[in-house]
């Protein structure tokens, strides 16, 4: 049913429809509304789950790790410093092959303290083995959560999935979306069953020591699953499209006016919406611009990205985070993907925008476009206030 609803409320609603048995979370801006709503739903008996209040994100992640290890569908959400405090457990959840779904309301990292949106937080757990998906709209956030459980619990996968949504812009943004019914979600997402669980009748140990004779293979198997996910994600996205009659792209990436584009923006998350408007503005002036939206950041769809960019002359990779001392993380990955094109490789430029909530306007996106025709840049900050860059003597 079509609703006008805040992103956080929509996520809580769709999680309820996914019927988790354990929810544990610690509030942190801008994720708080999601777990507040879920706590209310549990208290009102709309959701038959245990809501476990904890004293920190480290404990929240540990509780849902516990929930999943006993074979119960679980859920948590966090943001920024909360994700950093969870980090140790986040790596464990993937290493234990537990199909948890978590929402990250993307926010900047301290210091200095900053509650506003960028995508630096998720990058700290980029290499953890989690599947990392990025939503452009609140509709996509809702739809990705349903697909996230389906993917995570697929016996070929058995890995946790994180749905990233831009803090405030989406979590606190109210827009029109179509909320599926309980019946539709139940049909798409059957109850979770696993034989691989902690059970007093059939005791087993999880995550026991793997010495140098074993560890390498265990890591390889996670990497191999991610490779298989490049086929599984499009299958699940396709099933979703058939069942819910919506969804763009192949689950990994989505192109917008990219078929004949000479200049292509590559980006993740809500900024893709603003880029679509810029692409249309440029098209109206006869410029062949396009957008490649990366939905699945891990696994990174190297082949899709390369083929989508094969025709482009210039590419602007927009990062809302930075690997300080190197480049924007997305830029690095896209560079590896296009390197397979050899002499056909487009001119690749990397830009960092929107850190700490600096507003990304159409003008700032146009700035990146205009710089595509000058000297090649690999990590250009857009919108710097030069007057603030004076060094202390």
């Amino acid at each position: 049913m079509k609703q006008f609803i805040e992103g956080s409320h929509a996520v809580a609603e769709i999680i309820k429809l996914c019927r988790p048995g354990v929810v544990s979370a610690y509030p942190i801006t801008p994720q708080t509304h999601i777990v507040e709503d879920l706590a209310l739903m549990v208290a009102n008996k709309e959701l038959n789950a245990q809501f476990v209040n904890v004293e920190s994100e480290h404990s929240a992640a540990s509780v849902v790790l516990g929930g999943e290890s006993t074979g119960v569908r679980s859920y948590t959400a966090t943001s920024s410093q909360g994700l950093l405090l969870m980090a140790e457990v986040v790596f464990n959840i993937a290493g234990l092959r537990l199909p948890l779904v978590m929402t990250t309301a993307n926010r900047a990292i301290s210091a200095p303290i900053n509650i506003w949106n960028d995508q630096q937080d998720v990058m700290t757990v980029r290499d953890s083995g989690w599947v990392l998906l990025f939503a452009e709209t609140n509709q996509e956030a809702v739809d990705l959560h349903v697909q996230a459980y389906k993917l995570a619990e697929d016996k070929r996968v058995m890995l946790p999935v994180m749905v990233n949504m831009d803090g405030f812009i989406l979590t606190h943004g109210m827009e029109v979306l179509d909320m599926p019914s309980q019946k539709e979600v139940d049909k798409f997402l059957p109850p979770y069953k696993t034989t691989y669980k902690l059970d007093v009748e059939n005791p087993l140990t999880m995550g026991y020591l793997a010495d140098p004779d074993y560890y390498l293979e265990i890591r390889y198997m996670v990497q191999d699953t991610h490779k298989q996910l490049l086929d599984i994600i499009p299958q699940v996205a396709d099933d979703f499209k058939k069942a819910f009659k919506r969804g763009e792209g192949n689950g990994l990436v989505e192109g917008y006016k990219i078929e004949d584009a000479d200049q292509v923006f590559v980006a993740m998350g809500s900024v893709c919406g603003s880029i679509r408007d810029v692409v249309d503005d440029l098209r109206a002036k006869g410029k062949k611009a396009g957008l490649l939206k990366v939905i699945s950041y891990r696994p990174f769809p190297k082949a899709c990205v390369a083929s989508a960019l094969a025709r482009a002359k210039e590419v602007a990779v927009i990062d809302k985070s930075i690997s300080l001392g190197a480049f924007g993380p997305l830029y690095t990955d896209v560079m590896v993907a296009v390197s397979s094109l050899g002499s056909e490789m487009p001119k690749m430029s990397g830009f960092v925008l929107g850190l700490g909530g600096r507003d990304i306007t159409k003008r700032s996106i146009m700035d990146t476009y205009e710089r595509l025709f000058g000297k090649q840049v690999d990590c250009e900050f857009i919108g710097l206030k030069q007057e603030l860059l004076v060094e202390d003597k």
Binding site: T29, F168, M174, E175, R276
Partner: protein, 186 residues
């Protein structure tokens, strides 16, 4: 596409106001995107809420820099800050009037409506809790964007779970805000 910028202090209900406005537009088949922007993230600090409305889903995620319509919930914000920054040439501003605060005059074809929302709210319920609702009624009348019934429906749906007394007071506030503008000579 139309863009609305609300100026308020954190805690004065600007987000609720934006959500009710958005809901009213949604109810007549349009696609609003309503969102807040916090400054210092502290109660009482200046903040904005925005609504962007179109006939198709809104994709632009930036803040609103060139509003068609302005709603100023707290006139004290206009003391050291120009709320008219980027305001469209033919824009319409609705300001909650406050004694002793001088409001800068708009330019050109811009229209400014001063609404004694605090006074109207106090007349209805003895408190100023209905200020935002009065301003919503005024918005509908001043802009012609929404009908009185649209706003009444939106406020009734929004506060429906709070009981009849609350709904009735809010409906009265909408009507009085609306009527105040209708009675204002132009």
């Amino acid at each position: 596409m139309k863009e609305i910028r609300i100026h308020a202090r954190a805690g004065q209900g600007a987000i609720t106001t934006a959500s009710i406005l958005g809901y009213a537009y949604f109810s007549k088949g349009q696609y609003p995107y309503a969102f807040p922007h916090f400054g210092a993230a502290r109660m009482g600090a200046p903040m904005n809420a925005f609504v962007r409305i179109d006939d198709k889903p809104v994709r632009l995620r930036s803040q609103v820099y060139n509003p068609d319509y302005l709603i100023v919930v707290d006139a004290t914000l206009m003391r050291g800050f120009d709320c008219y920054v980027g305001f469209k040439d033919d824009g319409i501003a609705i300001v909650n009037e406050r004694e002793g605060i001088e409001i800068p005059q708009p330019r050109g074809k811009q229209k400014l409506f001063m609404v004694p929302a605090g006074k109207i709210s106090t007349e209805i319920m003895g408190k100023t809790l209905l200020v935002n609702t009065v301003l919503l009624g005024a918005y509908a009348a001043a802009t012609g964007e929404l009908k009185l019934e649209d706003m009444i429906k939106a406020i009734s749906d929004r506060f429906g779970d709070k009981g009849k007394a609350i709904v009735d007071m809010n409906v009265e506030a909408i009507k009085k805000g609306y009527q105040f503008i209708k009675d204002t000579p132009r």
